[in-house]
Subunit: 119 residues, 2 copies
DNA sequence: CTCATAATTGAGCAACCGTTCAATTATTAT
DNA sequence: ATAATAATTGAACGGTTGCTCAATTATGAG
């Protein structure tokens, strides 16, 4: 049995071969960071409903607020997060800002999720 | 222009037809709640790495701790969350508990995620 | 039985997150 | 210019969350 490999870990390796194989196959840390950040956007009840609504039709902040029974401010804050992670884009026409999904294949992520919870 | 439809909302409907259509197509609230909870499990750097590692090979708590450079306690806490949401299952053999993905199609969720961040 | 080790557990704490509230910007209409 | 409205913004508050730490359970070895 081998000594611990990282100072932060409090135990010995039990299956050194397994750990080595998985470690070698493991993508770079940045990938997981980005992946977790992507899923964070789907991990909130408000955001996931906004994204789903936009997968139906483009909508403005007011319409989303009415649809979800929330304030424009709350919706706007969430839309900002979604903008910063490039999940939605916007189109200002006069006073009204129309939001839409940044790319169609975001719907695929929904589908996979719904598939999983309906089993 | 129509009056606000829910007391919590602070504005009028701009596109009544859009809101109506989306509202009618919208799945039940419970679906979004479950969906958000599912994605929450992928929305943390530690959990997403655990899930990915388990998609490679079954592993015990110690191995995961060594692989990720974390304490057994931290890993065990996260595995509990993953157990409670039915994403992983475990198999105790003597003192060692082996964890594995609850079902193979969890990998599909990864694929969709990686597809999106690599564009 | 006693000891070592794998794993779990609960309390506590710091960091993060989502909403509210009030103020502000931008645009249109009068 | 003034008023009204769509939207954004930043601070603040309360709730949640992920890790640490110490204690505990469970199993196997000597």
């Amino acid at each position: 049995m081998k000594q611990k490999e990282q100072s932060v870990c409090d135990c010995d390796v039990i299956h050194e071969d397994v750990v080595e194989r998985v470690r070698n196959a493991m993508p770079d840390g940045k990938n997981f960071y980005d992946l977790a950040n992507l899923y964070k956007m789907f991990a909130d009840n408000t955001r996931v409903r906004i994204l789903w609504a936009l997968s139906c039709e483009d909508m403005c902040v007011c319409d989303l607020a009415v649809l979800l029974g929330m304030t424009k401010s709350a919706i706007s804050h969430q839309l900002k997060s979604l903008r910063l992670t490039n999940l939605v884009k916007y189109d200002k026409q006069g006073k009204v800002v129309y939001y839409s999904l940044a790319d169609d294949h975001i719907k695929d992520i929904f589908e996979k999720g719904f598939e999983h919870i309906h089993e």
